[in-house]
């Protein structure tokens, strides 16, 4: 449900950069989103299509590069990717670790005409 305010922000940043560059139209928006954030790709595109009507970003396609969660085991210090809700280390069986990746949420680039 919070994809609406999130998408408003994505559109605002996109339009700010496009207008500064004097672009006529935004064709693509490239986002990087970690799997530990709670953003739903389809909802973001849905709201973007709705919010961007009559702006330079109307019709732009969002590309969302997903970053899988990666953690460093508290016990053995080796890195692993949690499997869904299973955060047990495959190397030593230890539970959980420090999050190294998976929390990203940024706009990497936009492609304009």
């Amino acid at each position: 449900m919070h994809e609406l305010p999130v998408t408003e922000q994505i559109l605002q940043v996109t339009l700010d950069h496009a207008r500064k560059a004097g672009a006529r139209r935004v064709a693509h928006v490239n986002l990087v989103v970690g799997d530990l954030t709670s953003f739903v790709d389809e909802s973001i595109q849905f709201y973007f299509d709705f919010l961007s009507r009559d702006t330079e970003a109307e019709g732009a396609v969002l590309h969302i590069r997903r970053v899988p969660a990666r953690v460093r085991c508290h016990a053995c210090q080796q890195e692993f990717a949690p499997d869904g809700i299973d955060w047990r280390c495959p190397h030593c069986g230890g539970l959980g670790g420090e999050v190294l990746a998976g929390r990203e949420s940024f706009i990497e680039s936009i492609e304009v005409e």
Binding site: H2, V6, Q9, I10, V13, T37, S38, G96, V99, F106
Partner: protein, 215 residues
């Protein structure tokens, strides 16, 4: 064209301004997050009682609708502002900035910001808080950390509430503590019952210490 801008940078900017305002007034803001019914308002009321005479408490209440919670807080003589988000599932920094204008900041030491009941969305939105605290209540079960890793990894403290219910529900305290530790080594863990008052003193003492060291 390279952009590399955090999606929520506009919110983060206002959150930073809120934080600077609060810190300049010697106020520690606590962003309190939990599921609906976990005991956010109860914890605020009980903590305010435990801190009475030591620390002055203020409250921002966030709800989708109604002012039921704000009324309960106001009835205790605590300064409170209600934010109704009108459907939005979390508080954001602009809402808090607005609410701060209606609070007597010179009469507040610790400001509780009771977020909308939700374990997902509030995590993404900084408000200007100095501490992020979540409540995990016994009745919700011991398996929540790995279902909602985002919130459990983000908080400074987890308050396990409704400990008085533990004998009556399927709940494994050791399993919950192990799961919290697995996700977050630095978080303080408190076991309390807002109904019986059990365990509230160590939590209130810790909070007071945080206020004294952070402001």
């Amino acid at each position: 064209m390279e952009v590399v801008t955090q999606i929520l940078s506009a919110n983060d900017q206002i959150a930073q301004e809120n934080r600077e305002l609060l810190e300049s007034r010697g106020i520690l803001a606590v962003n309190l997050m939990a599921s609906p019914g976990a005991g956010k308002t109860s914890l605020i009321l009980q903590t305010a009682k435990a801190l009475a005479g030591r620390v002055r408490v203020g409250v921002i209440e966030g709800d989708i609708a109604s002012h039921v919670d704000a009324d309960k807080v106001a009835a205790e003589g605590i300064p409170v502002v209600q934010i109704n988000t009108g459907g939005t599932c979390h508080l954001d920094a602009p809402m808090v900035r607005q609410a701060l204008k209606s609070l007597p900041l010179d009469k507040i030491d610790i400001l509780f910001v009771e977020n909308v009941g939700n374990l997902i969305c509030p995590v993404e939105f900084r408000l200007g808080e100095g501490l992020r605290v979540m409540i995990a209540s016994v009745a919700e079960g011991d398996d929540k950390p790995y279902k909602y890793p985002g919130i459990f990894t983000a908080v400074d403290a987890v308050v396990i509430n409704k400990m008085d219910l533990a004998p009556y529900v399927e709940f494994d305290l050791a399993a919950l503590r192990e799961a919290i530790r697995g996700l977050n080594r630095r978080a303080e863990i408190f076991e309390v019952s807002c109904r019986t008052g059990e365990g509230l003193a160590p939590w209130a003492d810790w909070l007071e210490k945080q206020w004294r060291t952070k402001t």
